[in-house]
């Protein structure tokens, strides 16, 4: 299996204080990688660096064996989509406009949507099942519907990789499962597809991720299958909680603080 994304020795600082230290990470095709860790561990910062939104202070980043720096911005944007936490939309745009924005790497110069653009947008709308939301204004939707629209926007780009920052935060259980299933489906759809998801819900992490990365104070302290990463001693040391876990069932339930 070839590596889709390879990060080696990534470091990042804000005002001399280390946010990320010596991050090494590989994502292979078809994989769903979960990034977990307590608040302030550097999960979102790492995701933004992987998404090329911020540049690392030092270290090497490769997308399919090409260094990030060698890939032109727009062709990079066509391959990798980034889903921001809460997927904000700052103007009350129509749902179809928000989805069409996903195609912007293909149309920086012409505002007109091409046939391919339209076909990809229609496919994404069907895949996320939001036909009934077309014609609505985004600010009138519920958080779950907004997230589905955002996902539809991401799918319309037809990217290889999706990087999502807490896509299930503030969603009801139905939408949590739906969003995770859609992300998983995308990752499994092709051998050069994958998804990297920052998650707080440890249950969803065990259930949907093939591999987990546990971050603590800017470092990766554990990585591998969920049963290893979410072992009791890790949860105690880094999350400061006791949990009841049954990895066969994909269950993990926080019990008490330490």
């Amino acid at each position: 299996m070839t590596a889709l994304i390879q990060a080696s020795d990534l470091c990042w600082k804000i005002n001399q204080s280390d946010i990320l230290k010596d991050i090494n990470l590989t994502v292979v095709g078809g994989e769903v990688l979960g990034i977990i860790g307590p608040n302030g561990a550097g999960k979102s910062s790492l995701l933004k660096i992987l998404a090329r939104i911020n540049e690392p202070f030092s270290g090497m980043l490769k997308l399919q064996n090409n260094s990030y720096k060698e890939i032109e911005l727009r062709s990079f944007a066509k391959q990798l989509a980034y889903l921001e936490q809460n997927a904000p939309v700052n103007w009350p745009l129509l749902v179809e406009k928000v989805i069409a924005l996903g195609r912007s790497p293909y149309q920086h110069h012409s505002a007109k949507l091409s046939q391919e653009d339209k076909a990809a947008i229609d496919k994404a709308i069907v895949a996320t099942g939001i036909e009934h939301l077309l014609g609505r204004v985004i600010s009138t939707l519920s958080q779950g519907e907004k997230m589905l629209v955002a996902l539809s926007r991401i799918f319309s780009l037809e990217p290889k990789l999706i990087l999502a920052d807490e896509p299930t935060a503030a969603l009801d259980p139905y939408h949590q499962l739906l969003i995770m299933e859609l992300l998983q489906q995308h990752a499994k759809a092709d051998t050069d597809h994958a998804a990297i998801i920052v998650l707080h819900d440890l249950g969803l992490a065990t259930r949907f991720c093939d591999k987990l990365v546990l971050m603590y104070e800017g470092k990766i302290v554990s990585s591998g299958p969920s049963a290893d990463v979410l072992a009791d001693e890790n949860l105690r040391e880094f999350y400061r909680i006791n949990c009841y876990s049954d990895f066969q069932q994909g269950l993990i339930q926080p019990l008490n603080r330490l």
């Binding site: 700052n90 009350p92 406009k97 924005l101 996903g102």
Partner: protein, 332 residues
Amino acid sequence: MRASKQQLYFILLVFSIPLFFCWHILSGPTALSVISATSDLLKGEASTQALILSEIRLPRALLAVCIGISLALSGAALQGLLINPLASPDLLGVSQSGVLAAVLVLYYGLAAVSWFVVPLAAMSGALIAVAFIFSLSGKYQGALTIILIGIAINAMTSAMTSLALNFAPNPFALQEVYFWMLGSLSNRSTNELFFALPFMLLGWVLIFPRRQFLDAMSLGEDTARSLGFNLKKQKFLLISGVALCTGTSVAVSGNISFIGLMVPHLLRPLVNHEPGRLLVYSAVGGASLLLLADTLVQNIPGAQELQVGVITAALGGPFFLLLIFKNRQLLR
């Protein structure tokens, strides 16, 4: 708003421009027969009527169109860029800096050197303000930082302008300063038009192609970047365009307030709030509104012609409030 209704409003807006333009040409302190003036002009006869048309009426109307476009376009671009409906060249202190520079030149009597000293100073003032805002915010890039810096600049330049006003050596200078602070298009000639046009055109050329970028910015800076836009470059081009448009506008007409803030606001429902499409609509709306305002100014009786900035603010304020009350759910 339904698509057919949106189209109808836009068509009405486009057709209002020739209408207001003609009304504007016909308005003025002396009666003008457009037909005889045009025929004299075409024959090359230097009659009084022909001169009034070619040297006074036409330049003033054309300037109203160009300045209306520039101010509204700058406002729409800034609001899209900063993802904030409150952003406008007046709020960010860009216009005010231009005014300060113009006032200082007037104060020290440098204005007597040549007619273009004052416009040049105003333009430099606006450019310096934009460069200052951009260089300070460059490190942080956040929209809020830019707005706060703008507010600080606005406060400082306003204070300094008032100070200059306080020390003004004679009442005549006071009146000149008053003109710059409120904005007016009276007594503009072809000189100002030809001075302003190239800079404004360049500004428009810099702003219009940023449509896709402004649309992407509605998803936030990070997502816009992830969609493949080079944020530094796009911001630089956009802000340079705004500086050129605003600077030149202030340079020839003083600080005409509210157009940059109000026009994009009024027209946003016609484009489903899309910041990219809003650019063209704002340009059309700005031209129309300033033509109308400057026509009204000339038709309102009084001892002295009213400043056009007074009309834009008087028209703009109530409209603006109405709009905010109508849209407060959508604006959250």
